[in-house]
């Protein structure tokens, strides 16, 4: 049996030369100290492979038509044996791929492995990052649910802001004047043909460049990169102390990849498939669209950009960021690699990482979004209305029915768009309360035309009662009598402007 197998291999090898071609690649020497830091690239590649295989299987079940896509997902989840697990695997492995590519890139940046002679490897890596994110975004659209529909609406609104050609570009992106069947087909082609094909080609290029340049050593203080002499020095060192990639380095890759695959499978079994959320029906407007985790920070940034330069930032920052990433190894291709000798790089990295993490967290909580149903689903806290006068009670009702709660919390429950009102009576005087409600301002709408003067009075009375025990109502200097008789409405309420 073994002899038979050996002669078969010999027969094939004689004709194909496959082993002769692959063996030097597998056994090429890598630095001895290339330890656990170096496993993330391999893990990214593994998850990409899983995406291809599970993606092909999903394509055998999915109906890429706007009329049927949603139902076909429900069908996969509920009728196809193991279908839900396949969808779950594809979704969680996609998250893992994004995570791994980001960790891999961070490691390469912190160790300055992008310096000579690996600048091109980094640049191809940046393109691979873009492909990964594009795959994640288009994949989210394949879900063809409410989030996908309104997510496309957000994308279309951004493209529509491009000067002069915006509208044309938008229609090209959507495949027509609306988000519809043509849109899904376009993004399907991107997701299953264009982007995977591009990614496979770039991965090949990335690997070829890695083989040519060699895997970088761990950075050592004092071991500076000098392009004129680096290659010679590196090759001498690796020749002397290096180890073959297979099995010495590969075994660590295998351990890490195996473990992360098990974790992803566990997540898939535990958490199940992601979505689909509500049906993609544009007439169902009770949607609360949120993007997948990888894009939450962008979603958050869009709420916080200063309006005057919002369009500029939305359109200009993506190309600027990409250009910056591409150009970085050209601008800093020599010198120290050790993080301790590159304080600016480390500070920049930390700042960006913290900013993205903070924005992502804001994206999860979205404090700027009114909680659409808070006015009916979040009751007024009982302890706040316990000892109120009838007028103040009336005001508490106004707060509820005028949807104030969508933006304002009372004792910790309700929207977060505006300040918590639990203690507002101690902060603002009667006049200030009335002015804020009637004229709005600072992201609060004006209620002057909506509220009757009786409602305004009741409202102000309630808001003034919103104080922790023992604290008197706020006054402005010179607002005399009113402060003397707290909790009483003033004789005349400023006329409600009509």
């Amino acid at each position: 049996m073994i002899r038979w197998l050996r002669s078969l291999i010999g027969w094939t090898e004689e004709r194909s030369g496959a082993i002769a071609m692959v063996a030097p690649i597998m056994t090429h020497r890598v630095p001895r100290d290339a330890k656990w830091w170096y496993v993330f690239g391999s893990a990214t590649l593994m998850f990409f492979t899983i995406q291809i295989v599970s993606g092909i299987l999903l394509a055998t079940l999915y109906a890429p038509s706007a009329a049927e896509a949603y139902l076909s997902l429900v069908y996969i989840d509920q009728q196809v044996p193991m279908g839900w697990l396949l969808r779950a695997l594809h979704a969680w492995s996609s998250n893992a791929m994004v995570l791994m590519v980001v960790v891999h890139m961070s490691q390469v940046f912190l160790h300055a492995s992008f310096k000579y002679p690996r600048e091109l490897t980094w640049m191809v890596g940046v393109l691979l990052l873009l492909c990964t994110l594009a795959l994640a975004f288009t994949g989210q659209i394949m879900r063809w649910d409410q989030d996908a529909y309104w997510g496309l609406g957000i994308g279309a609104s951004i493209v529509d802001r491009v000067p002069v050609f915006g509208n044309q570009l938008r229609n090209i992106m959507l495949g027509g004047p609306i988000i519809g069947g043509a849109t899904l087909s376009r993004f399907f082609a991107l997701h299953v043909f264009v982007l995977p094909g591009l990614t496979i080609a770039l991965v090949g290029l990335h690997l070829a460049l890695i083989l040519k340049g060699g895997i970088s050593e761990m950075p050592q203080v004092g071991q500076v990169v000098t392009p004129e002499t680096y290659r010679k020095e590196y090759e001498a060192r690796v020749h002397k102390t290096g180890v073959p990639f297979f099995p010495d380095a590969a075994q660590r890759d295998m351990v890490f990849c195996g473990l992360s695959l098990i974790v992803v499978m566990a997540l898939a079994v535990w958490c199940g498939p992601v979505g689909p959320s509500g049906v993609p029906d544009p007439t169902v407007i009770n949607a609360n669209p949120r993007p997948d985790a990888a894009f939450l920070w962008i979603f958050a940034a869009m709420a916080l950009l200063p309006p005057q330069i919002e369009t500029f930032l939305l359109l200009a920052s993506p190309p600027l960021i990409v250009l910056g990433l591409l150009a970085m190894p050209l601008l800093a291709n020599r010198g120290e690699r050790a993080p301790t000798r590159r304080p600016i790089a480390v500070i920049a990295f930390t700042t960006i990482a913290v900013a993205i993490a903070a924005l992502s967290w804001l994206g999860v909580t979205s404090p700027w979004s009114p909680v659409m149903d808070a006015w009916t689903s979040v009751p007024t806290p009982v302890n706040m209305v316990k000892q109120l006068t009838p007028l103040q009670m009336q005001g508490a009702l106004v707060v509820q029915y005028q949807q104030c709660r969508n933006c304002h919390a009372l004792d910790g429950t309700g929207g977060m768009r505006g300040p918590e009102l639990k203690n507002v009576g101690a902060r603002l005087s009667w006049d200030q309360l009335v002015r804020q409600v009637q004229q709005g301002g600072g992201n609060m709408p004006a209620y002057g035309k909506t509220l009757s003067s009786a409602q305004t009075t009741a409202l102000a009375a309630f808001l003034q009662s919103c104080r922790t025990d023992g604290v008197g109502p706020a006054t402005i200097p010179g607002a005399l009598e009113r402060a003397a008789t707290p909790d009483q409405p003033p004789v005349a309420v400023p006329p409600v402007s009509q």
Partner: protein
């Protein structure tokens, strides 16, 4: 490879006359070029055609005027004309109809002017609120607060034979005159 110098038999390493190869090469490159251009017409055409087509609007019937009681703002949904069967549910759209005194109407797109999310109407506070980034509009569609750069998109309206019609058909957007 050898047909360039067919006259010399057996191990002829004389390069063919330069001009002949050059002409052939030029012809080949030219033909490839022309062929690619011709082939590119349908490829690029299909890709970018949506950017060059004029998508017209049509008057769409939102139903009898009586469905929209005065003083109220109600959601009306409609089928987008000219859509294809492949569009499924996405071939429908919704609009907020504000009915005012004297059979006057304002019809707003549900899409927020910030980034297109669906705004919701609140009758008591007479506000539209957006769930995405906190845009808020007054009942006449003007911007009240939040990031939107303008008020809600408004459709042209007319009343014919007791029916309310709007001029619609495209996804509203900042550069899209609804």
């Amino acid at each position: 490879m050898n047909d360039g110098c067919a006259e010399c038999k057996g191990g002829c390493d004389q390069t063919p006359p330069r001009s002949r190869r050059g002409v052939m090469f030029m012809i080949g490159a030219g033909l490839m070029g022309v062929g690619s251009l011709v082939a590119a017409v349908p490829l690029l055409g299909v890709l970018i055609a949506p950017g060059f087509r004029r998508y017209g609007n049509t008057w769409i019937d939102l139903g009898a005027v009586g469905n929209f009681p005065m003083g109220q703002t109600r959601l009306a949904s409609f089928a987008i004309p000219g859509s294809n069967p492949n569009d499924g549910q996405t071939a429908t759209a919704a609009a907020w109809v504000r009915s005012m005194e004297g059979q006057k109407f304002q019809v707003f797109a549900v899409n927020c002017a910030h980034l297109g999310c669906p705004v919701k109407w609140f009758q008591q506070s007479r506000l539209f609120m957006c769930p995405c980034h906190g845009g808020v509009y007054y009942e006449d569609g003007s911007r009240a607060s939040g990031p939107p750069p303008r008020g809600l998109f408004e459709y042209p309206v007319k009343v014919e034979n007791g029916h309310l019609l709007i001029d619609a058909g495209r996804l509203p957007g900042l550069q899209e005159s609804v």
